[in-house]
Symmetry: C2
Subunit: 246 residues, 2 copies
């Protein structure tokens, strides 16, 4: 039997947002590798071997999965949202690049999912209706100066900006610094939305202007969206029109 690895995106939370392709890959896996909070969302059979891990060391998790596959296992690596967006897929290919050459011959694939940005946008209306960017606000893996540069250029480009990982217990200050920066570049009336735990029972949404926004609303389960100059509020929704004038 030949082993395989599938990096499986399970979406933002509810099972109704897990694709049939992802569900099938999870059902067929002999081994399931993942952060314990993601794994605990799944319905697995007693015959499947579950390898739970902490949130850290994605590279080690990827190596573990590849090693299991090398020994013939059909491995599903569970990823929240979409595996390619600030999640497990990049770690897998990094592990392959640095690992033994046999890993390149393994049957490896990535199964896309609904990333947090899309679920949050759907809940809010259509804020990503124009050109947009996604920035991971964590400086665990890149210098804060690069994040500042990207925020500044994105604001100048008038992109809608989606901020992933805006805050955590270890990084409470950065979303405040990011808002201070954005307030210097974007107009005060720019629309801002905080979408927390979307698709889960305790989901919460807050919409305000950039001037009035409280960055303290963001925690590690929050996706923050900064509107473009054309982003508008209509009743309980925000949206970015398809048409943009010069």
């Amino acid at each position: 039997m030949t082993g395989a690895v599938r990096v499986v995106g399970i979406g933002p939370g509810p099972s109704s947002l897990v694709t049939p392709e992802a569900s099938a890959a999870l059902a067929e896996a002999t081994d399931v590798v993942g952060y314990h909070r993601y794994v605990s969302r799944l319905s697995l059979s007693a015959a499947q071997v579950v390898h739970r891990s902490d949130n850290g060391d994605e590279l080690e998790r990827a190596r573990h999965a590849l090693g299991l596959a090398q020994n013939g296992a059909r491995v599903a690596v569970v990823s929240g949202g979409d595996p390619g967006v600030f999640a497990m897929a990049a770690a897998l290919f990094e592990a392959i690049e640095r690992g033994p050459s046999e890993w390149r011959d393994l049957d490896v694939g990535v199964l896309p999912g609904v990333t947090a940005m899309l679920a949050a946008a759907a809940r809010l209306g259509a804020p990503l209706g124009g050109d947009f960017c996604a920035i991971n606000l964590s400086d665990n893996l890149k210098p804060w100066s690069l994040i500042e540069k990207r925020l500044t250029l994105a604001a100048q480009a008038d992109f809608v900006i989606a901020l992933y990982n805006p805050a955590s217990r270890a990084r409470p200050q950065q979303i405040h610094d990011a808002f201070a920066l954005l307030r210097r570049v974007r107009p005060a009336h720019t629309l801002v939305a905080f979408a927390t735990a979307i698709g889960r029972p305790d989901e919460a949404v807050a919409i305000s202007s950039l001037a009035d926004a409280d960055p303290g609303l963001a925690d590690m389960r929050t996706l923050v969206i900064i509107g473009a100059s054309s982003t508008r509020r209509v009743d309980r929704w925000i949206y970015t029109p398809r048409r943009t004038e010069a």
Copy 2:
């Protein structure tokens, strides 16, 4: 009976990438509104009224759906990929904003889906592993000068860049102009990928350097990805490492 509108994202093509939430909304709809190519992908019952349209005039399609819901219909507006990304959701809220006030009281919702960028990235490896942006290259609804500005700033920010709608029969030149611009800002060895008709039987992928890339490979079914400076090739995949040095 109270009407409702759901803008339903059906993903990039295969039914295995349609979420259960989207499938349920389609099954429950009394009326299905959408571009005929998207509608023709669906399995619908004879009891459902299908309103097929051309690709154009999304605002009129949105108004049609809202009018049906006002008369009590449960309407599914079908959108390829994710409805919020260069698709039908923004048109719906624009129609609501401009329409009769009763439309604001309708039961309206957006159901997210796997957008083309995520499906293409999964097929290629993990090119969106770092910060990224999505730019619609069509100038049907915005000035080309704004697209040039965003491309330039995105390249300066070292974002991975996903280009939607890179070319069509009516707009064959713009992807060539975009590549000429990017070649002035980004190094020649920057990785570029063309992902065409991902998830469909005739899907095709091409990876090259920015210097060697042939923009003529792009058509209206292609998603183009321009790597960041850190984006790497490993065997048959490309990926952007999670870690970025200063």
